[in-house]
Symmetry: C2
Subunit: 155 residues, 2 copies
Amino acid sequence: MPDNISDRLGRLSPEIQSIMGVYALYWKLEEAFDCIETELSHPECHMLIKLDQPKRMGVLAADMLSVPSTITATADGLEKAGYLTRERDPEDRRAWLLVLTEQGEEARNMLVSEAGDLFHRASGLDAKETAEFARLARKIRDNILKTGIPEGLTK
Amino acid sequence: MPDNISDRLGRLSPEIQSIMGVYALYWKLEEAFDCIETELSHPECHMLIKLDQPKRMGVLAADMLSVPSTITATADGLEKAGYLTRERDPEDRRAWLLVLTEQGEEARNMLVSEAGDLFHRASGLDAKETAEFARLARKIRDNILKTGIPEGLTK
DNA sequence: TCATATACTTCAGATTATGAACCATTCAAG
DNA sequence: CTTGAATGGTTCATAATCTGAAGTATATGA
């Protein structure tokens, strides 16, 4: 039956094949997040991974294609649990910088390492294929962040 | 600032770069779904796209890395709105086959075409890169469906 | 100094996902 | 056969998540 599925997929356009692969991987990774750090919710994990350095909440919102109120909620949770603190951005005192605490750094390191491992097992790609996939994924992400919000469909 | 982000990303492991690209694309595509067929919810769109032929609900659940109750809810919505019908699987009368109606076929064709277009614009990849990305995405999806549920982490 | 824009927060409501208990059918023994 | 266990879906109550609109505080420009 897996062969059957794979066969049929071969007949679809590369774009749809790409989308289905991306969705499968996303769902698989989300599922796997449940198995590691039980303390953290999924959006909290996403945010921690993004915080490789202090960032403004607005930057995070753009980065996660999300809205400010969602970021507030997630940051609240992480702050209450001791993973980060809010500091006023000296360059614009309306804005907050989210800064990881030591506990936050530790959790982030663990997450990044686990996630890398997870990708490796879930994807089944070898080092060369992973490098190629990463190259294209980076290009895609750059394009998405560059083109910003909805794009042609600015409803 | 996009350059800055891109720079920092260059220093992350290929696995994390891949994950970030996949998440960005997933979020972007989900966001874009809002702009096309207002009638349908996101999970309904996903299910429609999967239904290139009649499928059992259990197969869909496995395919969408989801649970039966979620599939039931989504199928209920699509059935009520006239996009599909349930038929007993003659080979196992416990199971239902989800079969698209004519209206369902039309909607699916529109969705598949729109989604392909969407991928093209969101990713910014050219034809050759898209083909390469699709190849790897297909490989990843095969691996995920093959390895089935949680994997090493069968909590 | 005033009007407007930006950065974030609050909050109420909507969507979506999930597990446990359940019904119907199948399958495998005896 | 007929029983008991397994399987395919359903129901339902609950929880997690997301969102937009209205609000507060700071910044910016005329």
